[in-house]
Subunit: 153 residues, 8 copies
């Protein structure tokens, strides 16, 4: 059987090292995965609009401009992904992560949620449309290894 490179988009929380752990785990396992992500530099992300298109003093429109610029990246990468991982952490409301999940679901794009059990009830709709719910970054690596190589840890 042939091997292919999988494009995996890592959506959601930007304040912990879950992306690095998944990347390191996949590298260690020798998996042919190209990982993509939103811009994870919080300050840069918040200034994505005014930092590129020019000043804007009104907070709502600053955010609006920034979200538009970020969407060029995120929606393109989701459309181009073979699978998406959506991480919900314990800080912030992370509505954009849930938005990405809905976006992926409507495109028929498989995604994996990654979150603690405390959010299970609140995330039930998001988990239901997912193909898997993982508790740790290591579990995500195990899923990817199985999906790509067919082997269990």
């Amino acid at each position: 059987m042939a091997e292919r490179t999988w494009n995996v988009y890592l959506s959601g929380e930007i304040h912990s090292d879950w992306r690095e752990r998944i990347e390191a785990g996949a590298r260690e396992a020798g998996l042919p995965v190209s990982f993509f992500a939103p811009v994870t530099d919080h300050a840069a992300s918040d200034d994505a609009g005014v930092g590129t298109l020019g000043e804007e003093s009104e907070p709502f429109w600053r955010d609006h401009m920034g979200a538009g610029v970020n969407a060029i990246r995120t929606q393109t990468l989701i459309r181009d992904a073979d699978a998406v991982v959506v991480r919900f952490g314990d800080k912030y409301r992370q509505w954009n992560a849930a938005f990405d999940a809905g976006y992926a679901a409507a495109l028929g794009k498989p995604y994996i949620t990654l979150h603690d059990a405390e959010f299970d009830h609140a995330l039930k709709e998001v988990d239901r449309a997912a193909q898997a719910t993982a508790r740790t970054a290591e579990h995500v690596v195990d899923v990817l290894r199985y999906v790509i190589r067919g082997t269990l840890p």
Copy 2:
């Protein structure tokens, strides 16, 4: 010019009377709108799975079953809607509302967000993909009146 009935799906918060206010406002304005919504009886919604398909003791799977049954309703109604209103209130995490917004966005379905300014920054991605952000149910009625009749209040 001809008139048509508009199907509008009201997604999100189920603990305040915003749906009733939009419905009342549209009725008062004589607008030809058919409103649809998720099941808004919180207890019934939580039991949607076990109440119809049989018992399940594990909370994760109870939610999973319930979310599946609810999705038959919600995804069908979103696909069938001409426009969607997505309401974010001040309680709960409401990730399913953001999920619905992402789902609508990927389908190219126009939607209006409805929330207070305090959530502006957290909802910037969701607002950016919307066609309008309203602060009150009355504003939503004004938008619908304009969209359908072309008249301003």
Copy 3:
């Protein structure tokens, strides 16, 4: 909120009365559902090709002709359905039921499987892509009542 008529397609087993039980249950509950189904007269279905297009002695091509004529009906009705119920009974291989489930899944059309627990393992892929797995026709009616009216039995 407005009410709408739901189109529900009943796919699968044609040798028990499960369709009649679902229809009777929905009628009794006063649900606004239009039910559709494949041709359930086994003999007519097998002769769908030669009975309309002319004789054919080779069994493979007899079946081929019949399956084509039946597909005009089944694929149109699945595409037009809001939801699909796919029933697996204990006779025959029922590969066409699983085919319909895969067809519905790829279209993003929600479906409910209906089968005994003995088939759970063999149907795991089909059940996974479903929004619900029911054990009895009555459970399907309960799901439809909830989906349409938001009430539990």
Copy 4:
């Protein structure tokens, strides 16, 4: 004329050597084909969920978890395939093979069925939506050679 590599997904039976025979035949013929397949290690496939995401004692949910993880692989590979071969053997019910066929059909993806004549009647709907029905792995190689090179054996 230019040559291209064809992606062919081999769906279905995992208890005989049909995949190996097709692969060997294509290699021998020098065909530019990349073959893909579901995980064919039966034990690993059954444990795809609990082996990656954590324990689950209830058989239905074990299967559910496993089927979700497997679907990340199978649905992605079907969507990415130029053509699909769907094999029905004489063991097990193989509803997932028929599901894959329906999934491919709805996507407009050409597929070839591979099975003995004894299943012709039971598979008539699945065969009708296929572009070809082959009896042996060698026939599939002949079809691929013709499709890719335009030459007959």
Copy 5:
């Protein structure tokens, strides 16, 4: 089970009475079918462009204008049809009929071809993508009766 009205588009030959025979047969059988067709007045069809948009002396552009105006009708009606019948007669080249068949096939719209055996070899690609090949208008009525009512003649 519910009944629905089927939209059937009758494409192809305009110099024999096959449409009238299908319509009469369906009416006689009491079938709930709405039939649609291209403009079958040959002279009007040829002048569809210059007769509505203004003069044009160059034959190529006269045809071009006419074909554009006719396409507004034909492509809309094919998209809106549940099933299409494509008739090939013994006069003219009828490339537009084959074009309509290809158009329907790419949309996943089921169609029935209607032609004499003498054209079988020349129409093999068009017949292969069809769900049925009929020899007479009466056979088409039989297919429609079966598809809609499930009864054989």
Copy 6:
């Protein structure tokens, strides 16, 4: 043959009576057409955002809000139309009319352009993707009559 009501969306210029002339002509001809249009009250259209969602002093964002609200109407009506007429007059730049044409083209929705010959060169791309280019509102009525009834004036 059956008759159906055609939905026709009239896009573009709002400062002349071309819509009324088409509507009157169609009514006079007894054509079953439902006409739809953007909001043609220029002042209301410009205030569509601030008049419904609340004040905004910055002109760019006033327009942005208004254009979003208008898009709920226009994009929904274009998606729902059987055919679109796009009118270019001699005032203003009318980029939104060309935008609507591109939008319709990408959806595979047939459209008719309506403009004077002086704009032919500038509109060549827009005309090329159209099914017809008309010079007068009366010509549009003639096209609609032919498309719907098959008769020439």
Copy 7:
């Protein structure tokens, strides 16, 4: 500006050297084009089914089998093409060429027709949905050169 390789599918007539002339012209012009085509060996094409899948004595089904096998190639290559050239010669009815044109049109795939003026009237619908109608293979090369390089001969 960047350069890309264009995939061009050459559909239609198989009894003259038009494909070779286009290929030679493109090679001479140094154009980055990968050309694809149906199987142009007439005898092999007619035996595509029985030569790969096994004997069949009935001519209709022989053709049916062959057309299915050929469709795996042709429909995949059309879907993968950036542009299609459809050639109509003076022999045979070439309904499959018109079928390919309709198939390409429904997919929104640009195509160029190539035929003599004597077929203009008969091909008007096929030409109308094309982006260009060429008279000679050399004209097709000129179109490709312009499309890819932006230069005229």
Copy 8:
């Protein structure tokens, strides 16, 4: 995280050096972008039809032929782009730029508009469906750098 090459299509004005400035800026920043564009040689573009397909004296049809040939290039490149930049300058009506924007919008393809503030009101619908509105070519480079690298200038 992995890097990918972005395909960016530069639509619109052909009489200033904005494309060169974007290309130079991206090259200087070392961004992995492949830029594509319509044919920007005005004379060649106007003769795209008659220069490749043969003479035509009527201006309307000359333009029609040319626009068809150009569309093979432009629509293919827009469909293949990850993002589109649409430039409106101060000369000509540039309806084709607005057409491209509408085309991109309907495909769900993100685009950036580039124009002076004087056109803000006239371009409000086009800007609203864009993900960003830039004033200078340098701003576009800043947006691309951020989208691709996540860094601000």
